[in-house]
Amino acid sequence: MIELEQITKQYPGQAMPAVDKLFLSIPKGEICVLVGPSGCGKSTILRMINRMIEPTSGIVKINGEDVTRTDPDQLRMGIGYVIQQIGLLPHRTIAENIAIVPRLYKWPKEKIRKRVDELIVMMGLDLEKTRGKYPAQLSGGQMQRVGVARAMAVDPPIMLMDEPFGAVDPIARTHLQDELLRLQKEIKKTIVFVTHDINEAIKMGDRIAIFDAGKLVQFGTPEEILTNPINEFVEDFIGRDRVVKKLNLYLAEDAMQPIGCVVKGNELHTAAQKMKDAGAEVAFLLNEEGKACGQITVSDTEEFGRDIEGLRKRVLRTEKAFVQTTTPFPDALSLLLEYDTDYLGILKGEELCGMLSFKGIRKHVYRKEGE
């Protein structure tokens, strides 16, 4: 756990302190995102944790211990540090770059080699091709993977990340974010993550701290902040579309409803009756292998009546109108609009396990809003 107690940073010659009497306690094993407009002091706060900057007054504690009691170099060796500009040593190979902190700890060569290989693979880079390369030979996204790997080399319990994905292209950024989240599920590190992008904050943060002009404005889970922005500044900062942003917090399975009715491929003519019996508005069609391959609505059966082949064609138009249990709401909504349907089947792997509706999504978001 990281605790900041009454931290103030006043730069000489500046009227306002960069950070003003800040109290913040960052729980263990979570990603805490510091977010705010440029110059709000978020990077300064981050850099005071590993003593790259010393506070003017106040105490930073890690697991209850004042950081100024530890030698700065020793302290930093035990904290992963990733910056936007990455700062790989251009004259060292990728393997040598990752090995920097293990070398500072004087690990035996064999142990370093093993760990470096493990990290290169973990970061999704090609081991044989990457190990001996120099930073200049990698793309921006690959370099930042190496940057993250380097910070994790000695498996530090705390990682500080200063706009780590700010300089990579949007596609690579999404990848890196997703991978960090996936990794975090296993490694459970305490991560302090600085960004100016509220969307990134909502995506990455277990908790978000919003800053303005050196002061903490609001601290809470993304849901809390999107639901109850504390003042106008936060409201403006998260944007008018805060409810739409909130959709990102939920997955298809959160609003999953049970399936009312399924129809096998060879019994399409019984669909209307089956749906009537089950009281369902929609049925899902299964093919010979038992895989879901489309949906039938009551109005479809009425429109086509006895024209089974016409009905089949209509049903197969929605062949791809399915989401996974882990699909976030916005993607699901997009599919609903694309296929102009009211329902989507939810798959777990290949197996049909439920369905999602417009109404269900609305109800789910509304329920959360009311909490």
């Binding site: 060796m77 540090y81 500009q85 040593l89 251009p90 004259h91 060292r92 902190v101 500072l104 200049a136």
Partner: protein
């Protein structure tokens, strides 16, 4: 002057040529050695303070502007130094100040600040950063300055003949006085060959000394 005049001069004076060359080399070697020992640390130190860097670099520039004959003349008048090697060495070391300090300072200052920031953030100490990062990454610029210093020192050392150094410059000086063309040409040629030779060798070393990662691109 014919070629035979020239070769006969070489044959007759081979002993003197050897002696002068040796003196010349010794002076250059000493001057470059002392210069490195003093100016490299000074250059590194200056990277810590922009204010002092500006002052010292201005001083070095000023010294560099003094014509070499004037410099030798001035130093000779200082009782502690007088005619001879001490004055010669001091002059050469003073001339080396500008290229060496400048290149060390620029070399280190040009290292990407983010690399240093990242290294510091990982817990690398000041000494480690200097040895493992600043020097290797600054090396291309530093070495270029060193190369210039060596060549320049070789040239200026010849002029020290006027304050009593018995080196290759003396052939030129005496050759001029006596209108002895073979003598003049011998001095001029040997000095030039040495300077060009040193520069070529250092050029080859330079290629090897630049870290591989800096030479490589996608």
């Amino acid at each position: 002057m014919t070629l035979s005049d020239f070769t006969s001069f070489l044959m007759k004076n081979s002993k003197t040529i050897m002696e002068y060359s040796e003196n010349h080399f010794t002076l250059v070697l000493l001057a470059v050695g002392i210069s490195l020992a003093i100016w490299v640390p000074v250059g590194l130190l200056l990277t810590k303070s922009d204010k002092w860097a500006a002052r010292v670099l201005a001083l070095a520039n000023t010294i560099f502007c003094i014509p070499s004959l004037s410099m030798f003349a001035i130093l000779v008048t200082i009782p502690m130094f007088g005619l001879g090697r001490k004055s010669a060495l001091l002059a050469l070391v003073l001339y080396a100040m500008m290229p060496l300090i400048r290149s060390v300072y620029d070399g280190v200052k040009n290292v990407d600040r983010n690399v240093i920031e990242a290294a510091r953030g990982m817990g690398m100490g000041t000494r480690r950063i200097l040895i493992e990062i600043l020097v290797p990454l600054g090396m291309p610029i530093i070495f270029a300055g060193f190369r210039i210093t060596v060549v320049m020192t070789t040239g200026i050392a010849a002029i020290a003949t006027y304050i009593g150094e018995r080196n290759l410059g003396r052939f030129i000086q005496e050759g001029l006085i006596r209108s002895n063309t073979p003598m003049m040409v011998t001095g001029a040629l040997i000095i030039s060959v040495i300077a060009i030779g040193l520069d070529t060798i250092l050029g080859l070393v330079e290629k090897r000394i630049v870290p591989k990662g800096l030479r490589i691109s996608r």
